[in-house]
């Protein structure tokens, strides 16, 4: 197992290298000139050219690539062309909101989804099942921003229970932190509730038809232990896979939620950077994202071995 983990960790290096080459080439070959954007609308062509030279954007592409790779190899993600701040500082400033939103969303989504997914499988074909599946379809169909605005309208503007927007760091208190994450987590979590609930139901239905479940019932085991200990554990592998995909999707997908609820996370950082062609930020965050994707997949693979002892690497 340890050898497998080491192999997988080493495999992240070529993956990130390929991502790096693609990101760098795509950015530099796509139209867009950060110097022109920095200079502003009243700038002269000479001003723009001076900024371009200062930022090194007039150097040959291969030279710029070499400098970037050299810096990355030394753990330096570069400096934002606009704010002059190190990319690492900017990412660290934004990491806590994104991690908080991702974790709370997953908690909300997994808790609700597995509960209603198991319920739907247990009550398959009944009204409960239909309601759960209807909810799942709704969760998939309604865009995050619509859910977000509706939640804001009801809970922030009408009932005044929760804030409209913003993020409070956890250091300023657990409740203020949580209070600002409730609506975003619900809005973002709805789609994942739908996704995970459907997979849970399908997987559970398959397992509930197995002989050992019938045997458990015949032995007189109560319904809840049968569902949770016998069925859910054996149905867990596809559910964990979907949760793993969900984590990856969440990291890239939080940007709309971050915008609607004004959460200063990594998603917004990278989208803003793309809009103004702040190459060091885009490149740095993409490399980090690639690393996180690989690690999430690795974690999912390791979790499989705990859920199903037959799986060995």
């Amino acid at each position: 197992m340890i050898a497998y983990v080491i192999r997988r960790l080493l495999a992240t290096i070529p993956v990130m290298a390929i991502v790096g080459v693609f990101v760098f080439l795509l950015l530099h070959l796509a139209p867009g000139d950060p110097a022109a954007i920095i200079a502003g609308d009243n700038a002269t062509e000479q001003n723009i050219a001076a900024i371009r030279t200062r930022l090194g954007l007039d150097r040959p592409l291969i030279e710029q690539f070499g400098s970037w790779v050299w810096a990355i190899a030394h753990g330096d993600l570069g400096v934002s062309m606009f704010s002059n701040l190190p990319v690492t500082t900017l990412v660290l400033q934004r990491a806590q909101p994104t991690i908080s939103l991702t974790v709370t969303t997953l908690l909300v989504a997994v808790t609700i989804a597995i509960t209603i997914g198991v319920l739907a499988a247990w009550k398959a074909g009944t009204l409960v099942d239909r309601v759960v599946m209807g909810f799942a379809v709704l969760g998939f169909s309604v865009p995050v921003f619509v859910v977000g605005y509706l939640l804001v309208y009801v809970f922030a503007l009408q009932l005044r229970w929760l804030p409209v927007q913003g993020y409070v760091p956890i250091e300023q208190g657990l409740w203020p932190w949580a209070r600002n994450l409730i609506l975003p987590s619900l809005a973002l979590g709805l789609a994942y509730v739908a996704l995970i609930a459907r997979i849970t139901r399908a997987s559970m239905l398959e397992v509930l038809a197995e002989d050992y479940i019938r045997t458990a019932h015949a032995k007189g085991v109560a319904t809840v232990p049968v569902l949770l200990r016998h069925a859910l554990k054996n149905a867990a592998v596809p559910i964990v896979t979907v949760i793993g995909i969900g984590v990856a999707l969440l990291i890239s997908g939080v940007v709309i939620t971050e915008s609607v609820f004004n959460i200063p996370g990594v998603g917004r950082l990278v989208v803003d950077a793309i809009a103004r062609r702040d190459y060091p930020i885009i490149q740095g965050v993409m490399i980090l994202f690639a690393g996180v994707y690989v690690l999430v997949n690795l974690c999912v693979d390791i979790v499989y071995t705990f859920l199903d002892p037959r799986i060995r690497y």
């Binding site: 867009g32 920095i38 009243n42 030279t53 409209v164 913003g166 915008s259 609607v260 004004n262 200063p264």
Partner: protein
């Protein structure tokens, strides 16, 4: 230790209790704080290095200017105590006010001001126009310096006082010694607020605190001139990119001031208790459609005149702004409503004539220009509402008179890059793009770089017209507003004749704020001042 449900719950309760004092602190707002949502993000902290408006807003918070324009757009002394001009109008002597201090406590000196002016002029069109006539800037003593000219120039104070970007902000000499092409790294001004660098989160939050050493002038505040009385302890800029979210935050009382609420949200905001909608910048914005003078068909004045007739201000304003309460058509190149807002020669626009008549004349001009259906590339920024609407309307207007229009869609970043390409459209260049400028900047033939007609050295579109340049110089040398207005009349006629660019009308952007909490907001074009603003509830 065994971990069970009860211990977990206890731990959670303890954690919540530990958080409680923080909750109390977080909910106790500083007594005199205003939370402001500006139109964009503060990305660059050097207001000379970039001409971006947000950097100018930042500059106006922490730096001061030698002069400032008052509400009537007249330059008034700000950091300067006295200003005298020699009899031959060649030497301007400036004496600084006593007691001016930088945020680090050191005194402001004439040497600082000369260094700041020199760095600013390297980046500013009006500054460069002035410095073409400057022979020396001697420092006389700690509080006195001079600007010595080789010929009389009527815009010395206007250039130093202007509110269009980049403003002539004063910085410490060692900071102002930074190469103008390099961003400054220290942010020490002498202005009414201090920048709280430790709380700066690009893309999210900018914080300023009161400068306790700031000594305002005795006159009442007017424009960016007069006494800058600081009545707030903190000003927090919350960068909220989503307009609907910002509007909701204003309605719920989470912010006090929203700079640019979209026009379609205004009715909801106006109906919310405690929220007031007001237009502070009456000169607003001016839309303009730049035609590429370097390449066919718009290197031919007849084709440019055809475009000028074909493109409808009313069509654009209706599509992009929507509410007629906030827009108007205008036949001036210098902002209707400003002192230079003359409309001489505007009859060539046929603005009162039916569209069909204008289009018939445009078709005729196009034929005379020898247009042979070559593609006309219109740059189309799809990510900014007004830009998107403008490109679609312009394309349709041009098609209606027989032009073969191709929309080149990209985000604004793509347009900004492509518009600087002087190659023919087929080789990455372009024929038409739309943008807009502040009404205040547009009102001056010198302050707005877009008014230059110096060919390939001019702003994008690269118009070239010797008479226009001669008139700009005459305008700059004119002794007073009346004389300048007279030159502006000739200039407007000439610009419409050779079609410098196609103006697309004017619109204002109302602000929304909590009138049940703050008062004293000042109407200043192109910056948002927080001096004079008071938090009373």
């Amino acid at each position: 230790m065994d971990t069970n449900r009860r211990t977990v719950l206890k731990a959670g309760a303890a954690a919540a209790a530990m958080g409680a004092p923080h909750v109390a602190r977080a909910q106790t707002k500083p007594a005199r704080q205003v939370r402001f949502v500006p139109h964009g993000d503060l990305r660059v902290l050097d207001p000379i290095w970039t001409t971006a408006n947000m950097s100018a807003y930042h500059g106006a918070m922490i730096y001061d200017t030698l002069f400032g324009v008052d509400v009537n757009m007249r330059p008034q002394p700000q950091m300067v105590q006295t200003h005298t001009v020699s009899d031959n109008r060649l030497t301007h002597t400036f004496v600084l006010r006593d007691g001016l201090k930088w945020h680090d406590g050191t005194p402001v000196t004439a040497r600082d001001c000369v260094a700041s002016i020199r760095r600013w002029q390297a980046k500013d069109g009006a500054g460069q126009h002035l410095f073409e006539r400057v022979t020396d800037t001697p420092v006389v003593d700690d509080r006195t310096f001079r600007i010595v000219l080789k010929e009389p120039y009527g815009l010395v104070l206007d250039a130093l006082a202007k509110t269009s970007t980049p403003l002539c902000f004063m910085m410490k000499a060692e900071i102002a010694a930074t190469d103008p092409g390099t961003q400054i790294t220290k942010h020490i001004g002498s202005g009414p607020f201090r920048f709280v660098e430790g709380e700066y989160r690009p893309g999210s939050r900018v914080v300023y605190e009161r400068n306790p050493d700031y000594v305002p002038r005795g006159e009442p505040a007017s424009g960016i001139a007069g006494g800058k009385r600081v009545l707030l302890d903190r000003v927090v800029w919350d960068i909220i990119p989503d307009a609907q979210t910002a509007a909701s935050a204003l309605m719920s009382g989470e912010i006090e001031f929203f700079e640019v609420p979209p026009i379609d949200i205004l009715p909801a905001l106006g109906a919310a208790p405690g929220v007031k909608i007001e237009v502070f910048n009456q000169l607003g914005n001016v839309g303009y459609c730049r035609l590429n003078h370097l390449h066919p068909p718009f290197n031919n004045v007849l084709a440019r005149r055809a475009a000028q007739l074909a493109i409808s201000q009313e069509d654009f304003l209706r599509a992009a702004i929507g509410n007629a309460q906030y827009y108007k058509t205008c036949g001036s190149n210098f902002t209707c409503g400003s002192p230079m807002g003359v409309e001489d020669g505007a009859e060539v626009l046929m603005m009162g004539a039916p569209m069909a008549q204008r289009q018939a004349r445009a078709r005729q001009l196009l034929k005379e220009a020898g247009y042979n259906n070559e593609p006309i590339v219109v740059l189309h920024a799809t990510d900014i509402h007004i830009m998107n609407q403008a490109a679609l309307v312009i394309a349709q207007n041009l098609r209606q008179v027989g032009m073969n229009v191709q929309l080149a869609a990209s985000d604004w970043g793509g347009v900004v890059t492509r518009r600087s390409n002087q190659n023919p459209p087929a080789q990455g260049g372009w024929n038409v793009f739309f943008t807009w400028g502040g009404g205040n900047a547009t009102s001056s033939p010198i302050n707005l770089f877009g008014h230059a007609a110096t060919g390939r050295k001019a702003w994008f579109g690269w118009p070239e017209n010797a008479r226009h340049e001669q008139l700009r110089n005459e305008w700059a040398a004119a002794a007073d507003v009346a004389a300048r207005r007279k030159v502006a009349q000739a200039m407007n006629r000439n610009m419409l004749e050779y079609v410098h660019d196609v103006k697309l009308g004017q619109w204002v952007a109302p602000v929304a704020y909590r009138s049940d909490r703050i008062r004293g907001l000042l109407p200043v074009p192109e910056v948002v001042p927080f001096w004079n603003v008071e938090r009373f509830a």
